[in-house]
């Protein structure tokens, strides 16, 4: 082993980004970012293209110099270290396997650079881990996309970095292979216990794999937390619509009353539990996820305690597992509602008058720019900006 501070024998630590900023000319790609990634966690940076997530990753890898701020690994600031002196390795987008070297030499590359002579056992062990035992003599071009992806992973992991960075590692794979690799990546991460920082624009991928997700927008982190927490109680309108979809009604809140926050929206009064209100006074969005919105044909069939709006079905899309309805409210906004095709309850025909109701405990209040109108998801089943 070389004397360098890489490898499992060095105590790792949490990865902390402190006031990290990167400007390209007048464009601020990463804006005063602060973040702590606990050791051994699977962390996802989620955002649309251009949000600064890849720049953040490149600064951790050392491929980009931060304009200001710190990258702390344990107690050590590595922000000014050259990439080849950092105990950090990367799985690159589209893999960047060396085309002139075979798979064995690709995987052995990092060990050899650190002056390790006998690499055979280690390389074979790594190839076994990614289930490519017999591929050592092949060239990258002779492998399929999924196999190349696993070589890239093995090539990075063999160095036992303290942090493994993954830059859209599954972006080039087709849907089925992507699902398979998501599970495999998760398995490997659990097995090796290294901190994974995963950059992606695919909300589903982030939610399936990561312990913690940070949603990035315009160089800043909008929200950070466990996937379920973020989904169930988003912090901003951006998150509410980037991670899944939301029906957001423009409303006014007049401060908390008891354990609830009463709001007025389009002439009607609603309320939301105070623990689900990001703001309690002034302009707010009243948010309900489409799958939490249920349709009935008359107001007297709304369950007790639920709140509702009335409207008419303008569109119904059957997507197999569910049916997605568009409901036009009296004031003209279109809400979306997903009904599981569970076989209970029939489908609602287009044109029917309906009452859309929800349990107030599933609603949430978000800050709203004064003057901003309803924001409803329509029928997109992918959040805007999710496709790269």
């Amino acid at each position: 082993m070389s004397a360098k501070t890489t490898g499992h024998d060095t105590p790792a630590g949490d990865l902390r980004l402190v006031n990290l900023t990167k400007r390209f000319g007048i464009f601020t790609a990463v804006d005063d970012l602060g973040l702590t990634i606990p050791q051994g966690s699977f962390f996802a940076l989620l955002g649309a293209s251009g949000c600064g997530k890849t720049t953040t990753l490149r600064m951790i890898a050392g491929l980009e110099q931060p304009t200001s701020g710190q990258v702390l690994l344990g107690d050590r600031d590595i922000a000014r270290l050259r990439p080849y002196k950092r105990p950090v390795n990367t799985v690159f987008q589209s893999y960047a396997l060396f085309p002139h070297l075979n798979i064995f030499d690709n995987v052995a590359f990092g060990l050899r650079r650190r002056g390790i002579r006998s690499v055979d056992d280690e390389v074979m062990r790594m190839l076994a881990l990614v289930q490519l035992d017999d591929f050592g003599h092949r060239r990258p071009a002779q492998l399929s996309g999924g196999q190349q992806q696993r070589v890239a992973l093995a090539r990075a992991l063999i160095n036992r970095p303290q942090v493994l960075l993954l830059d859209e590692p599954l972006g080039a794979l087709d849907l089925k292979l992507r699902r398979q690799m998501q599970i495999e990546l998760k398995r490997i991460q659990t097995e090796v216990g290294i901190t994974f920082v995963h950059v992606t624009h695919d909300q589903e991928e982030a939610m399936t794999m990561a312990d913690t997700v940070a949603v990035m927008n315009a160089g800043k982190i909008e929200q950070l937390g466990a996937p379920a927490d973020i989904y169930e109680y988003p912090a901003t309108a951006f998150v509410a619509n980037f991670l899944g979809q939301s029906n957001l009604l423009a409303a006014e809140a007049a401060g908390p009353a008891g354990s609830d926050v009463p709001v007025t929206a389009h002439g009607a009064r609603y309320s939301v539990p105070a623990v689900r209100a990001r703001v309690a006074t002034g302009p707010v969005y009243l948010g309900v996820r489409p799958e939490k919105l249920h349709l009935v044909d008359a107001a007297d069939r709304v369950p007790a305690g639920h709140q509702y709006v009335t409207g008419a079905v303008t569109d119904a899309s059957y997507v197999g597992v569910s049916t997605q309805y568009l409901v036009r409210t009296e004031w003209g906004s279109e809400l979306s509602a997903f009904a599981a095709n569970s076989g209970l309850g029939g489908r609602v025909p287009v044109g029917a008058s309906v009452v859309a109701h929800w349990d107030p405990r599933h609603a949430f209040l978000l800050p709203r720019q004064p003057g901003a109108d309803d924001s409803t998801a329509g029928l997109l089943d992918e959040p805007v900006g999710a496709s790269s």
Binding site: F24, R58, E64, Q65
Partner: protein
């Protein structure tokens, strides 16, 4: 020589690499890398052009032995043109006719290799480049054998009465134009091939599907899409063909001499430097003018 094919067509550059970290050494490095090559080109390409310009304005009554004085003798230009306008005109006439022939021959060839050759593609491509594997002069001399009065070609043409009983090919303008066409044809074919190769066959099928006849498909789809390659190819053909004098010397007679023959003798035989320099400059200016007008008409200035 295939590199020529890359030259004037601005290739679709991949997305610009992310900017490199700035630092004193990094910023100086590109200039250090460029310095030797750029200095060489400046010193032995750019500076000589100024020297040539100066030489074209020397006092024409000087000589190599007595030395030349720079007298801003602009009269050298009209004088040279007056004395040698037939050779000057012939350069553009021959190169122009050769260019038309080359397009008529080169387009079908490039198209066939790019779209019809299938597995024979690389073999045919090698055949196009093959002439450049051997000496330009030796190949041109081979035309002397092919076109000779006792050769089979002249015999054949006499038999079918395309040539009179005393008709000949060698030492005629026909031989010079044939030689020019032959020598520079690969320069036209290669860039043309490169752009026809990128042409998606489905576009032609789509045109056919939308009621275009083969001729219309060619005019409306194939030709416009191959235009960048055709423009690059014609320039790479025309510029050296106009400046050539080897074909005129070896396959023609003084009656077929082009401006290059005159410049060659002005510098190397008559040692009349001012006149040679003036003719060189006129040639370059005329070529630039033709190219400029051509590119304006073709509407693609970014080619250069």
């Amino acid at each position: 020589m295939t590199a020529l094919a890359h030259v004037p067509t601005p290739t679709g550059q991949p997305a610009a690499p992310p900017p490199l970290p700035r630092g004193g050494r990094r910023r100086l490095l590109p200039y250090l890398l460029l310095l030797p090559g750029a200095a060489w080109l400046l010193l032995f390409f750019a500076v000589p052009l100024f020297q040539l310009a100066a030489a074209s304005l020397y006092d024409p009554s000087g000589s190599l032995s007595t030395g030349y004085a720079l007298t801003w003798a602009f009269g050298n230009y009209p004088d040279a043109l007056q004395a040698y306008w037939p050779q000057f005109g012939r350069s553009f006439l021959y190169a122009g006719i050769a260019l038309v022939l080359a397009v008529l021959m080169g387009y079908p060839l490039a198209y066939a290799i790019a779209q019809k050759a299938g597995r024979w593609k690389s073999l045919l491509l090698v055949c196009v480049v093959a002439p450049m594997f051997t000496s330009f002069l030796v190949r041109t001399l081979a035309w002397k054998t092919i076109l000779s009065d006792n050769g089979w070609l002249v015999g054949l043409l006499r038999d079918v009465h395309l040539l009179g009983p005393d008709g000949r090919l060698l030492a005629t303008p026909v031989a010079v134009v044939l030689g020019l066409t032959y020598n520079f044809l690969p320069f036209l074919v290669l860039p043309l091939y490169a752009s026809l190769e990128r042409l998606d066959y489905r576009l032609l099928e789509a045109a056919g599907d939308l009621y275009a006849s083969p001729v219309q498909t060619f005019r409306r789809v194939t030709l416009p899409l191959s235009m960048p390659g055709l423009i690059a190819g014609t320039l790479l053909f025309f510029i050296p063909a106009t400046g050539d004098y080897i074909n005129a010397e070896l396959l023609g007679t003084p009656n077929e001499y082009m401006v290059g023959n005159v410049i060659d003798s002005a510098f190397l035989v008559r040692l009349d430097y001012p006149q040679g320099a003036a003719l060189s400059f006129l040639l370059m200016a005329a070529i630039l003018a033709v190219v400029f007008v051509y590119l304006r008409r073709a509407g693609t200035e970014e080619v250069l």
